[in-house]
């Protein structure tokens, strides 16, 4: 509830600011539809509210359908902007060369736990892979104990909690496991839905809110939850694990650590911007960080539609990357080098 009021407040503030600025832009009167990622949906609502207030004639509808649906509908031309937590796969990019993956903001994910009496916890990719494969079943397993010297771990069965609906969170979580654990990479791969090995006592939950209540309902549980829920996770008294990064440090998903990961990937981001930020280099880089994408076909049926998309997306990655929007969902702005790349991609839409 507090998060919602915060969102609302940020939205109202943003509206007031942009309305006061009263910038005059080229008038576009073309209806656009945005559809896809439920993680991006609250942010798109803030953006569209503020953008419509300052751009007379803007007509943008937002819908929350899921990243996979966002990609599919954008490719089929059913929506103009598909929102996705994941970039286009190589095969899809090859089959649909005109469809662009344009980063709009940076998101992250926390690994949370429900352990009464344990204040801090270090975890690594191989440990998490072991837990979700059913090879590590007890909290006081030697592998977990070795990563947590001085922490008294309970002698209790671990309850692994995963998403049962297709999710960008599952995508980046399994990508972290695949990047840091060779066994997971060869047997489980990564994706928005994976074939979870059966583990006694495991729980599947729907949506980030379902993950949160499942973790709250299951003492000795562990779950991966999108960073935009971190306020609610904290309010529920659940712990946030420090994860082992590529440099061998245990790091928490703080703003500084997420930025460190984003900065380290910014310069190696290719022109088509399809790159994973998971398990990035850098001594303090948090390992589960990702770009949030707009999936857009660069060949639009009419110049007016293309102009409307260009104008809106261009606004999103500049003025829309202002903390007054992003803080409400705990996203981070794109680094300047990436803004330039995204602008170059947006310019291709015609």
């Amino acid at each position: 509830m507090t998060n919602f009021t915060k969102l609302l407040r940020a939205g109202v503030a943003a509206l007031a600011i942009t309305a006061a600025a009263g910038t005059a832009h080229a008038q576009v009167d073309v209806p656009l539809i945005e559809s896809g990622s439920s993680l991006l949906y609250p942010l798109f609502n803030l953006w569209v509210g503020a953008y419509s207030a300052s751009h007379a004639g803007a007509d943008i509808t937002t819908t929350s359908t899921g990243s996979g649906a966002g990609i599919a509908q954008s490719i089929k031309g059913l929506v103009q902007i598909g929102a996705s937590d994941a970039y286009l796969s190589d095969t899809l990019a090859k089959d649909h060369p005109t469809v662009l993956s344009i980063p709009l903001a940076i998101s992250s994910q926390a690994v949370n736990y429900n352990l009464p009496g344990v204040g801090s916890l270090n975890l690594s990719g191989p440990i998490l892979a072991g837990i979700y494969e059913g090879k590590i079943t007890q909290w006081n397993d030697p592998a977990i104990a070795a990563a947590n010297p001085g922490v008294s771990l309970p002698n209790h069965v671990i309850v692994p909690i995963h998403r049962l609906d297709g999710s960008g969170d599952t995508f980046i979580f399994t990508q972290y496991l695949a990047a840091s654990d060779a066994g997971w990479a060869s047997t489980m791969h990564y994706g928005t839905a994976v074939s979870w090995p059966p583990i006694s006592g495991e729980v599947g939950a729907k949506g980030n809110s379902g993950m949160l209540s499942a973790l709250g309902n299951n003492p000795y549980g562990i779950a991966y939850i999108g960073i935009s829920f971190s306020d609610k996770v904290k309010a529920a008294g659940l712990g946030q694990a420090a994860l082992l990064n590529k440099a061998g440090q245990y790091v928490l998903p703080t703003t500084a650590n997420i930025s460190a990961a984003a900065e380290s990937v910014a310069n190696s981001t290719p022109a088509d911007e399809r790159i994973s930020m998971i398990f990035a280099d850098g001594p303090t880089a948090y390992p589960i960080v990702n770009y949030e994408y707009a999936i857009v076909d660069s060949q639009q049926p009419a110049p007016a539609i293309a102009e409307a998309i260009r104008d809106f997306l261009g606004w999103c990655i500049t003025e829309g990357n202002d903390p007054s929007f992003l803080n409400a969902v705990h996203f981070l702005p794109l680094p300047p080098a990436v803004v330039t790349l995204s602008q170059a991609q947006i310019a291709k839409i015609q």
């Binding site: 928005t192 729980v203 209540s213």
Partner: protein
């Protein structure tokens, strides 16, 4: 022949519904054709469901492009669907038979005994009957929320040996609550229509109230009761959202206890569809269509059974 516009219009309108049904079935069969070829009968007998690696190059199996490592077996979901629905029926039938008998037989007595002193009170029976029917129209997501907020912590803390409330039992209880009003209101209506003479003759023969209900009234409404149960079963088999929220979403394993996480066919389709849409070969969506076809056939069989039973075609024996 004179063309009658009204008759023609009505004919066209009435053909729309069967046409829509045929169109849906045709679509499912044609669309899932490739998946049927790829899966064969293993589809129904395998427990492992794996969309495969959607981010790697597809491979060609039996001349069909599929994601690497793709494997589609739905036995666990068929078992999950049937187990949760039948368990729900087992919970719901005593509950709804009790409710219907209470409404039909006990409430009038309470009214006679109490309302005499308070004639200004509104009649109790229609109000209670309406309440029961009201439960039937509560959206399923509301039951799901109640399940997450109340039922799951209760099962987890007080009943389940594993400490987790999500699973077969939670799904069955939520389903049972959803279908109880269907059975109860059907049965209540039937009990009200039992001829007064039958009831009163039984009383005149010296039967107790219990004997009147069990020996004179229930046998007359048996066919209706069976029809109501089968209709409720149809609802339970297809229920999606509430089950998705409390079932624990088990996959790749057959449920082995009341507390095992399960997936039902309907909830599984919803959970997987978004990821399937990102499959460049489209095989995942085709496989899900085949899953939908199986669910369609199961519910079709249940509804056909309901029609047969309640029309008396199977000759449910009436007591002499």
């Amino acid at each position: 022949m004179k063309l009658r516009p009204f008759r023609l219009t009505v004919l066209c309108l009435s053909l729309m519904i069967p046409a829509a049904l045929v169109a849906v079935v045709l679509f499912l069969v044609v669309y899932s054709g490739q998946a049927m070829v790829f899966n064969g009968l293993h589809f129904l007998t395998d427990v492992t469901w794996n969309l495969g690696d959607l981010y790697d190059d597809p491979v060609v199996v039996k001349g069909i492009q599929v994601p690497a490592g793709a494997e589609y077996g739905i036995l666990a979901f068929i078992v999950g669907t049937l187990a949760s629905s039948f368990l729900a029926i087992i919970i719901a039938v005593p509950l709804s038979v009790g409710t219907a008998i209470f409404l039909a037989e006990a409430v009038p007595e309470i009214e006679r005994a109490t309302w005499r002193h308070f004639p200004w009170l509104p009649p109790l029976r229609p109000a209670l009957a309406m309440l029961v029917e009201l439960v039937a129209v509560v959206p399923s997501v509301v039951f799901g929320l109640w399940g997450i907020a109340v039922l799951i912590p209760f099962i987890g803390h007080h009943i389940s040996p594993t400490g987790s409330g999500y699973g077969l039992l939670a799904a069955a209880i939520v389903l049972a609550l959803m279908i109880t009003p269907i059975i109860a209101s059907t049965l209540f209506d039937a009990l009200c229509q039992v001829p007064k003479e039958n009831r009163e003759s039984a009383f005149a023969l010296g039967s107790t109230h219990f004997e009147v209900v069990t020996k004179a009234m229930m046998p007359m409404v048996r066919a209706t009761l069976i029809g109501g149960i089968v209709l409720a079963l149809g609802r339970a088999l297809g229920e999606t959202m509430a089950v998705l929220m409390v079932s624990g979403g088990g996959s790749n394993i057959l449920p082995h206890s009341l507390f095992s996480p399960i997936s039902t066919i309907a909830s599984f389709i919803v959970g997987q569809l978004d990821s399937a849409e990102a499959d460049p070969t489209n095989m995942s969506v085709r496989a899900l269509s085949e899953v939908a076809l199986v669910l369609f056939l199961i519910t079709l069989a249940v509804n056909a059974a309901a029609k047969l039973l309640s029309s008396g075609a199977l000759n449910v024996r009436k007591r002499q």
